[in-house]
Protein backbone atom coordinates (compact mmCIF):
# COMPACT_ATOMS: atom_id res chain seq x y z
CA UNK A 1 0.00 0.00 0.00
CA UNK A 2 2.78 2.33 0.92
CA UNK A 3 4.67 1.62 -2.27
CA UNK A 4 1.55 2.40 -4.26
CA UNK A 5 1.27 5.78 -2.58
CA UNK A 6 4.95 6.37 -3.13
CA UNK A 7 4.59 5.60 -6.83
CA UNK A 8 1.68 8.03 -7.12
CA UNK A 9 3.70 10.67 -5.34
CA UNK A 10 6.64 10.15 -7.69
CA UNK A 11 4.38 10.50 -10.69
CA UNK A 12 2.91 13.70 -9.30
CA UNK A 13 6.35 15.12 -8.62
CA UNK A 14 7.56 14.21 -12.11
CA UNK A 15 4.49 15.72 -13.70
CA UNK A 16 4.86 18.86 -11.67
CA UNK A 17 8.49 19.13 -12.69
CA UNK A 18 7.68 18.61 -16.36
CA UNK A 19 4.75 20.98 -16.38
CA UNK A 20 5.39 24.58 -17.17
CA UNK A 21 2.71 27.14 -17.69
CA UNK A 22 2.13 27.71 -21.38
CA UNK A 23 2.63 31.41 -20.87
CA UNK A 24 6.09 31.15 -19.29
CA UNK A 25 8.69 33.29 -20.99
CA UNK A 26 11.60 31.31 -22.37
CA UNK A 27 13.75 34.06 -23.76
CA UNK A 28 15.53 36.70 -21.75
CA UNK A 29 16.13 39.58 -24.15
CA UNK A 30 18.98 41.12 -22.15
CA UNK A 31 22.21 41.07 -24.13
CA UNK A 32 23.42 41.59 -27.67
CA UNK A 33 21.78 39.84 -30.56
CA UNK A 34 22.71 39.27 -34.17
CA UNK A 35 19.49 39.65 -36.12
CA UNK A 36 18.02 39.45 -39.57
CA UNK A 37 15.23 41.95 -40.24
CA UNK A 38 13.15 41.19 -43.29
CA UNK A 39 10.04 42.26 -45.08
CA UNK A 40 10.66 45.80 -46.24
CA UNK A 41 9.58 46.04 -49.87
CA UNK A 42 12.19 48.70 -50.71
CA UNK A 43 15.10 48.04 -48.45
CA UNK A 44 15.00 44.27 -48.52
CA UNK A 45 16.59 42.29 -45.73
CA UNK A 46 19.01 43.73 -43.23
CA UNK A 47 21.43 42.23 -40.80
CA UNK A 48 21.64 44.24 -37.63
CA UNK A 49 22.81 44.01 -34.09
CA UNK A 50 20.31 44.67 -31.35
CA UNK A 51 21.19 45.25 -27.77
CA UNK A 52 18.87 45.22 -24.79
CA UNK A 53 20.16 46.53 -21.48
CA UNK A 54 18.43 46.94 -18.11
CA UNK A 55 16.12 49.89 -17.52
CA UNK A 56 14.65 49.53 -21.00
CA UNK A 57 17.73 50.68 -22.88
CA UNK A 58 17.63 49.35 -26.42
CA UNK A 59 19.83 50.09 -29.42
CA UNK A 60 20.47 48.87 -32.89
CA UNK A 61 23.44 48.86 -35.26
CA UNK A 62 23.25 48.28 -38.99
CA UNK A 63 26.22 46.57 -40.44
CA UNK A 64 25.88 47.33 -44.14
CA UNK A 65 25.43 51.04 -43.75
CA UNK A 66 28.70 52.75 -43.01
CA UNK A 67 26.90 56.08 -42.78
CA UNK A 68 25.49 54.87 -39.50
CA UNK A 69 28.69 54.42 -37.62
CA UNK A 70 27.56 52.74 -34.49
CA UNK A 71 24.68 52.09 -32.23
CA UNK A 72 21.51 54.13 -32.69
CA UNK A 73 18.92 54.40 -29.99
CA UNK A 74 15.63 52.55 -30.01
CA UNK A 75 12.61 53.41 -27.91
CA UNK A 76 12.74 51.82 -24.46
CA UNK A 77 11.88 48.13 -24.52
CA UNK A 78 9.05 46.86 -22.40
CA UNK A 79 7.60 43.44 -21.74
CA UNK A 80 3.90 42.96 -21.32
CA UNK A 81 2.07 39.64 -21.22
CA UNK A 82 5.23 37.81 -22.27
CA UNK A 83 5.60 40.11 -25.24
CA UNK A 84 8.61 42.30 -25.87
CA UNK A 85 7.95 45.65 -27.50
CA UNK A 86 10.13 48.46 -28.73
CA UNK A 87 10.34 50.83 -31.68
CA UNK A 88 12.88 52.23 -34.10
CA UNK A 89 12.23 55.98 -34.39
CA UNK A 90 14.43 56.18 -37.48
CA UNK A 91 12.33 53.77 -39.55
CA UNK A 92 9.05 54.00 -37.65
CA UNK A 93 9.02 50.25 -37.14
CA UNK A 94 7.27 48.89 -34.07
CA UNK A 95 8.84 45.58 -33.09
CA UNK A 96 7.20 42.84 -31.06
CA UNK A 97 8.45 39.45 -29.93
CA UNK A 98 6.69 36.58 -28.23
CA UNK A 99 9.05 35.67 -25.40
CA UNK A 100 7.44 32.24 -25.09
CA UNK A 101 9.27 31.20 -28.22
CA UNK A 102 12.58 29.42 -27.98
CA UNK A 103 14.38 32.27 -29.62
CA UNK A 104 14.23 36.05 -29.78
CA UNK A 105 12.34 37.39 -32.76
CA UNK A 106 8.92 38.25 -34.02
CA UNK A 107 7.30 40.79 -36.25
CA UNK A 108 7.53 44.50 -36.96
CA UNK A 109 5.06 46.87 -38.49
CA UNK A 110 4.77 50.40 -39.67
CA UNK A 111 1.63 52.15 -40.80
CA UNK A 112 2.04 50.67 -44.26
CA UNK A 113 4.28 47.62 -44.02
CA UNK A 114 4.92 44.53 -41.96
CA UNK A 115 7.82 42.17 -41.64
CA UNK A 116 9.72 40.04 -39.22
CA UNK A 117 12.97 39.72 -37.35
CA UNK A 118 14.92 36.85 -35.87
CA UNK A 119 18.02 36.84 -33.73
CA UNK A 120 20.83 34.75 -32.38
CA UNK A 121 22.85 35.64 -29.33
CA UNK A 122 25.95 37.57 -30.36
CA UNK A 123 29.31 38.16 -28.81
CA UNK A 124 29.95 41.33 -30.83
CA UNK A 125 30.05 44.32 -28.53
CA UNK A 126 32.03 46.86 -30.49
CA UNK A 127 30.80 47.68 -33.95
CA UNK A 128 33.72 47.56 -36.41
CA UNK A 129 34.38 50.82 -38.24
CA UNK A 130 34.74 49.62 -41.81
CA UNK A 131 32.02 47.94 -43.82
CA UNK A 132 34.29 44.96 -44.55
CA UNK A 133 34.94 44.39 -40.90
CA UNK A 134 31.24 44.60 -40.15
CA UNK A 135 30.39 42.05 -42.82
CA UNK A 136 33.09 39.84 -41.38
CA UNK A 137 31.62 40.25 -37.93
CA UNK A 138 28.14 39.34 -39.08
CA UNK A 139 28.54 37.16 -42.14
CA UNK A 140 25.44 36.25 -44.14
CA UNK A 141 24.06 32.74 -43.91
CA UNK A 142 24.64 31.28 -47.34
CA UNK A 143 22.53 28.30 -48.37
CA UNK A 144 24.35 25.29 -49.80
CA UNK A 145 21.38 22.98 -50.25
CA UNK A 146 17.97 24.58 -50.33
CA UNK A 147 15.40 21.79 -50.32
CA UNK A 148 12.07 22.75 -51.82
CA UNK A 149 9.05 21.55 -49.88
CA UNK A 150 6.57 19.36 -51.69
CA UNK A 151 3.14 20.78 -52.32
CA UNK A 152 0.82 18.72 -50.11
CA UNK A 153 -1.56 16.65 -52.21
CA UNK A 154 -4.37 17.41 -49.77
CA UNK A 155 -3.83 21.11 -50.39
CA UNK A 156 -4.02 20.55 -54.14
CA UNK A 157 -7.23 18.56 -53.77
CA UNK A 158 -8.75 21.33 -51.69
CA UNK A 159 -7.26 24.06 -53.92
CA UNK A 160 -5.45 25.62 -50.99
CA UNK A 161 -2.76 28.21 -51.51
CA UNK A 162 -0.82 29.80 -48.72
CA UNK A 163 2.27 31.27 -47.20
CA UNK A 164 4.61 30.13 -44.50
CA UNK A 165 7.41 32.04 -42.84
CA UNK A 166 9.89 30.13 -40.80
CA UNK A 167 12.90 31.35 -38.85
CA UNK A 168 15.72 29.31 -37.44
CA UNK A 169 19.31 29.34 -36.37
CA UNK A 170 22.21 27.88 -38.32
CA UNK A 171 25.03 26.21 -36.45
CA UNK A 172 28.71 26.08 -37.33
CA UNK A 173 28.23 22.93 -39.41
CA UNK A 174 25.56 24.66 -41.48
CA UNK A 175 22.64 22.72 -40.03
CA UNK A 176 19.26 24.18 -39.12
CA UNK A 177 18.66 24.53 -35.38
CA UNK A 178 15.42 25.37 -33.57
CA UNK A 179 13.17 26.06 -36.54
CA UNK A 180 10.03 27.98 -35.66
CA UNK A 181 7.01 28.77 -37.75
CA UNK A 182 6.36 32.50 -37.62
CA UNK A 183 3.48 32.61 -40.06
CA UNK A 184 1.35 29.70 -41.22
CA UNK A 185 -1.67 30.23 -43.41
CA UNK A 186 -2.84 26.63 -43.10
CA UNK A 187 -1.74 23.68 -40.98
CA UNK A 188 -1.47 21.50 -44.07
CA UNK A 189 1.76 23.30 -45.03
CA UNK A 190 3.59 22.77 -41.74
CA UNK A 191 4.97 19.27 -42.26
CA UNK A 192 6.48 19.77 -45.75
CA UNK A 193 8.18 22.94 -44.53
CA UNK A 194 9.80 21.22 -41.59
CA UNK A 195 10.91 18.30 -43.77
CA UNK A 196 12.43 20.67 -46.32
CA UNK A 197 14.22 22.59 -43.59
CA UNK A 198 15.67 19.41 -42.15
CA UNK A 199 17.14 18.65 -45.59
CA UNK A 200 18.58 22.12 -46.09
CA UNK A 201 22.23 22.88 -45.52
CA UNK A 202 24.09 26.15 -45.15
CA UNK A 203 27.69 27.10 -45.60
CA UNK A 204 29.66 25.92 -42.58
CA UNK A 205 31.63 28.39 -40.54
CA UNK A 206 34.54 28.12 -38.15
CA UNK A 207 32.91 30.23 -35.47
CA UNK A 208 30.77 28.41 -32.94
CA UNK A 209 28.16 31.17 -32.84
CA UNK A 210 24.71 30.49 -34.20
CA UNK A 211 23.43 32.65 -37.03
CA UNK A 212 19.81 33.70 -37.57
CA UNK A 213 18.00 33.14 -40.82
CA UNK A 214 14.44 33.15 -42.10
CA UNK A 215 12.67 31.81 -45.14
CA UNK A 216 9.33 32.60 -46.71
CA UNK A 217 7.51 29.96 -48.69
CA UNK A 218 4.66 30.80 -51.00
CA UNK A 219 2.44 27.92 -52.04
CA UNK A 220 0.52 28.75 -55.18
CA UNK A 221 -1.50 26.75 -57.69
CA UNK A 222 -1.44 27.08 -61.44
CA UNK A 223 -4.38 25.88 -63.45
CA UNK A 224 -3.20 23.69 -66.31
CA UNK A 225 -4.46 24.16 -69.83
CA UNK A 226 -6.73 21.39 -71.06
CA UNK A 227 -4.02 19.84 -73.24
CA UNK A 228 -1.58 19.74 -70.33
CA UNK A 229 -3.81 17.62 -68.12
CA UNK A 230 -2.53 14.07 -67.81
CA UNK A 231 -4.61 11.02 -67.00
CA UNK A 232 -3.40 7.59 -65.96
Amino acid sequence: MLSKHAAVAVVIVLCAAAWQPASAARVDPLGTWSCVVWGHPDFGDERVLMSFAPQGVARLARIENVAVPSWSGLTPWITESRELRFGDPRTGRQYTADLRRENLGGTWRTLTATGGWWCAESDVEVIPESAEDRVRALPPVLPLVSATPRYPIQAIREAKQGRVVTCFLVDAAGLVVKPEIIELSDEVFREPILVALSRSRFEPRKSDSLRPSCRSYTFSLDRLAQHEIEFD
Binding site: V36, A155, C167, S213, C214, S216, Y217, R223, I229
Partner: protein, 171 residues
Protein backbone atom coordinates in the same frame (compact mmCIF):
# COMPACT_ATOMS: atom_id res chain seq x y z
CA UNK B 1 -42.32 -12.19 -45.09
CA UNK B 2 -41.47 -8.68 -44.57
CA UNK B 3 -38.13 -7.70 -45.86
CA UNK B 4 -36.30 -4.50 -45.38
CA UNK B 5 -35.07 -3.34 -48.65
CA UNK B 6 -33.04 -0.30 -49.35
CA UNK B 7 -35.22 1.29 -51.88
CA UNK B 8 -35.40 4.41 -53.71
CA UNK B 9 -33.52 2.02 -55.31
CA UNK B 10 -29.99 2.37 -54.96
CA UNK B 11 -29.38 5.82 -55.22
CA UNK B 12 -27.49 5.59 -51.98
CA UNK B 13 -24.71 3.70 -53.62
CA UNK B 14 -24.70 5.43 -56.90
CA UNK B 15 -21.49 7.32 -56.60
CA UNK B 16 -19.99 4.69 -54.35
CA UNK B 17 -20.25 2.39 -57.31
CA UNK B 18 -18.69 4.88 -59.59
CA UNK B 19 -15.82 5.67 -57.31
CA UNK B 20 -15.37 2.22 -55.87
CA UNK B 21 -12.89 1.30 -58.58
CA UNK B 22 -10.46 3.92 -57.47
CA UNK B 23 -8.62 2.62 -54.51
CA UNK B 24 -7.76 6.15 -53.41
CA UNK B 25 -11.40 6.97 -52.96
CA UNK B 26 -13.00 5.55 -49.85
CA UNK B 27 -16.13 3.46 -50.20
CA UNK B 28 -19.08 5.65 -49.41
CA UNK B 29 -21.45 4.84 -46.64
CA UNK B 30 -25.17 4.49 -46.82
CA UNK B 31 -25.70 7.22 -44.30
CA UNK B 32 -26.68 9.76 -46.87
CA UNK B 33 -29.24 12.46 -46.50
CA UNK B 34 -31.71 10.91 -48.85
CA UNK B 35 -31.15 7.21 -48.24
CA UNK B 36 -34.48 5.62 -47.81
CA UNK B 37 -35.64 2.35 -46.34
CA UNK B 38 -39.10 1.02 -47.07
CA UNK B 39 -41.03 -2.12 -46.41
CA UNK B 40 -41.72 -4.30 -49.41
CA UNK B 41 -40.28 -4.43 -52.87
CA UNK B 42 -41.64 -2.23 -55.55
CA UNK B 43 -39.51 -3.72 -58.32
CA UNK B 44 -37.42 -6.81 -57.64
CA UNK B 45 -35.13 -6.30 -60.60
CA UNK B 46 -34.24 -2.78 -59.59
CA UNK B 47 -33.53 -3.90 -56.05
CA UNK B 48 -31.43 -6.84 -57.27
CA UNK B 49 -29.62 -4.60 -59.73
CA UNK B 50 -28.82 -2.18 -56.95
CA UNK B 51 -27.43 -4.96 -54.82
CA UNK B 52 -25.28 -6.24 -57.68
CA UNK B 53 -23.89 -2.76 -58.21
CA UNK B 54 -23.17 -2.45 -54.53
CA UNK B 55 -21.11 -5.65 -54.86
CA UNK B 56 -19.34 -4.07 -57.84
CA UNK B 57 -20.83 -6.64 -60.21
CA UNK B 58 -21.38 -3.95 -62.76
CA UNK B 59 -22.41 -5.99 -65.79
CA UNK B 60 -24.97 -7.92 -63.77
CA UNK B 61 -26.14 -4.77 -62.06
CA UNK B 62 -26.64 -3.04 -65.38
CA UNK B 63 -28.52 -6.04 -66.79
CA UNK B 64 -30.86 -6.30 -63.82
CA UNK B 65 -31.46 -2.56 -63.62
CA UNK B 66 -32.33 -2.43 -67.29
CA UNK B 67 -34.78 -5.31 -66.78
CA UNK B 68 -36.25 -3.42 -63.84
CA UNK B 69 -36.71 -0.31 -65.93
CA UNK B 70 -38.83 -2.30 -68.39
CA UNK B 71 -41.30 -2.89 -65.56
CA UNK B 72 -43.52 -0.43 -63.75
CA UNK B 73 -41.73 1.82 -61.32
CA UNK B 74 -42.42 5.17 -59.75
CA UNK B 75 -40.77 8.22 -61.39
CA UNK B 76 -38.58 8.62 -58.34
CA UNK B 77 -37.40 5.00 -58.50
CA UNK B 78 -36.91 5.29 -62.24
CA UNK B 79 -34.78 8.37 -61.75
CA UNK B 80 -32.70 6.60 -59.11
CA UNK B 81 -32.30 3.53 -61.31
CA UNK B 82 -31.13 5.62 -64.25
CA UNK B 83 -28.70 7.39 -61.93
CA UNK B 84 -27.40 3.97 -60.91
CA UNK B 85 -26.93 2.96 -64.51
CA UNK B 86 -25.02 6.20 -64.93
CA UNK B 87 -22.80 5.37 -61.96
CA UNK B 88 -22.23 1.81 -63.20
CA UNK B 89 -21.20 2.93 -66.67
CA UNK B 90 -18.90 5.53 -65.17
CA UNK B 91 -17.40 2.82 -62.99
CA UNK B 92 -16.56 0.70 -66.03
CA UNK B 93 -15.18 3.75 -67.78
CA UNK B 94 -18.01 4.34 -70.22
CA UNK B 95 -18.59 8.02 -69.52
CA UNK B 96 -20.64 8.71 -72.64
CA UNK B 97 -23.23 6.09 -71.72
CA UNK B 98 -23.10 7.31 -68.12
CA UNK B 99 -23.81 10.90 -69.08
CA UNK B 100 -26.78 9.77 -71.16
CA UNK B 101 -28.34 7.88 -68.25
CA UNK B 102 -27.73 10.68 -65.77
CA UNK B 103 -29.30 13.19 -68.13
CA UNK B 104 -32.32 10.91 -68.49
CA UNK B 105 -32.50 10.59 -64.73
CA UNK B 106 -32.45 14.34 -64.29
CA UNK B 107 -35.16 14.77 -66.88
CA UNK B 108 -37.41 12.76 -64.56
CA UNK B 109 -36.22 14.24 -61.27
CA UNK B 110 -34.06 17.33 -61.44
CA UNK B 111 -33.61 17.34 -57.65
CA UNK B 112 -31.63 14.09 -57.71
CA UNK B 113 -28.27 15.30 -56.45
CA UNK B 114 -26.70 11.88 -57.00
CA UNK B 115 -27.45 12.07 -60.70
CA UNK B 116 -25.67 15.43 -60.85
CA UNK B 117 -22.81 14.02 -58.84
CA UNK B 118 -22.56 10.89 -61.00
CA UNK B 119 -22.67 12.92 -64.17
CA UNK B 120 -19.95 15.17 -62.79
CA UNK B 121 -17.78 12.09 -62.30
CA UNK B 122 -18.50 10.98 -65.86
CA UNK B 123 -17.57 14.44 -67.12
CA UNK B 124 -14.41 14.20 -65.07
CA UNK B 125 -13.55 10.96 -66.89
CA UNK B 126 -13.99 12.81 -70.16
CA UNK B 127 -11.84 15.69 -68.85
CA UNK B 128 -14.82 18.01 -69.25
CA UNK B 129 -14.02 19.83 -66.04
CA UNK B 130 -16.17 22.90 -66.62
CA UNK B 131 -19.25 20.73 -67.11
CA UNK B 132 -18.29 18.65 -64.08
CA UNK B 133 -17.89 21.81 -61.99
CA UNK B 134 -21.32 23.01 -63.02
CA UNK B 135 -22.92 19.70 -62.02
CA UNK B 136 -21.02 19.62 -58.74
CA UNK B 137 -22.25 23.11 -57.92
CA UNK B 138 -25.86 22.03 -58.42
CA UNK B 139 -25.34 18.81 -56.46
CA UNK B 140 -23.81 20.76 -53.60
CA UNK B 141 -26.74 23.14 -53.58
CA UNK B 142 -29.10 20.18 -53.30
CA UNK B 143 -27.05 18.40 -50.65
CA UNK B 144 -24.29 20.52 -49.12
CA UNK B 145 -23.19 17.83 -46.67
CA UNK B 146 -22.55 14.98 -49.12
CA UNK B 147 -18.98 13.75 -49.25
CA UNK B 148 -19.00 12.80 -52.91
CA UNK B 149 -18.77 16.25 -54.42
CA UNK B 150 -15.63 17.38 -52.59
CA UNK B 151 -14.09 14.02 -53.51
CA UNK B 152 -14.75 14.50 -57.20
CA UNK B 153 -13.62 18.11 -57.10
CA UNK B 154 -10.47 16.97 -55.31
CA UNK B 155 -9.79 14.42 -58.04
CA UNK B 156 -10.25 17.13 -60.66
CA UNK B 157 -8.00 19.52 -58.79
CA UNK B 158 -5.30 16.85 -58.65
CA UNK B 159 -5.38 16.75 -62.44
CA UNK B 160 -5.83 20.36 -63.35
CA UNK B 161 -3.83 22.20 -60.72
CA UNK B 162 -0.08 22.25 -60.45
CA UNK B 163 1.48 23.31 -57.19
CA UNK B 164 4.35 25.75 -57.13
CA UNK B 165 6.46 26.62 -54.12
CA UNK B 166 8.48 29.81 -54.13
CA UNK B 167 11.22 30.13 -51.57
CA UNK B 168 12.63 33.45 -50.43
CA UNK B 169 15.69 33.58 -48.25
CA UNK B 170 15.94 36.32 -45.64
CA UNK B 171 19.56 36.94 -44.83
Amino acid sequence: MVRLVACGIVSYLALGVALGQRSSIPELTQQQADSRTVLGVANEYLAAGAEALRLKEYDEGIRLTKLGLERPASPRDKSAALSNLCAAHAAINQPDAAIGYCTESLAINDANWRAYSNRAYAYYLKRMFDEADADLDVALTLNPSAKQMPQIRGMMNERRLRGRVTVEEHQ
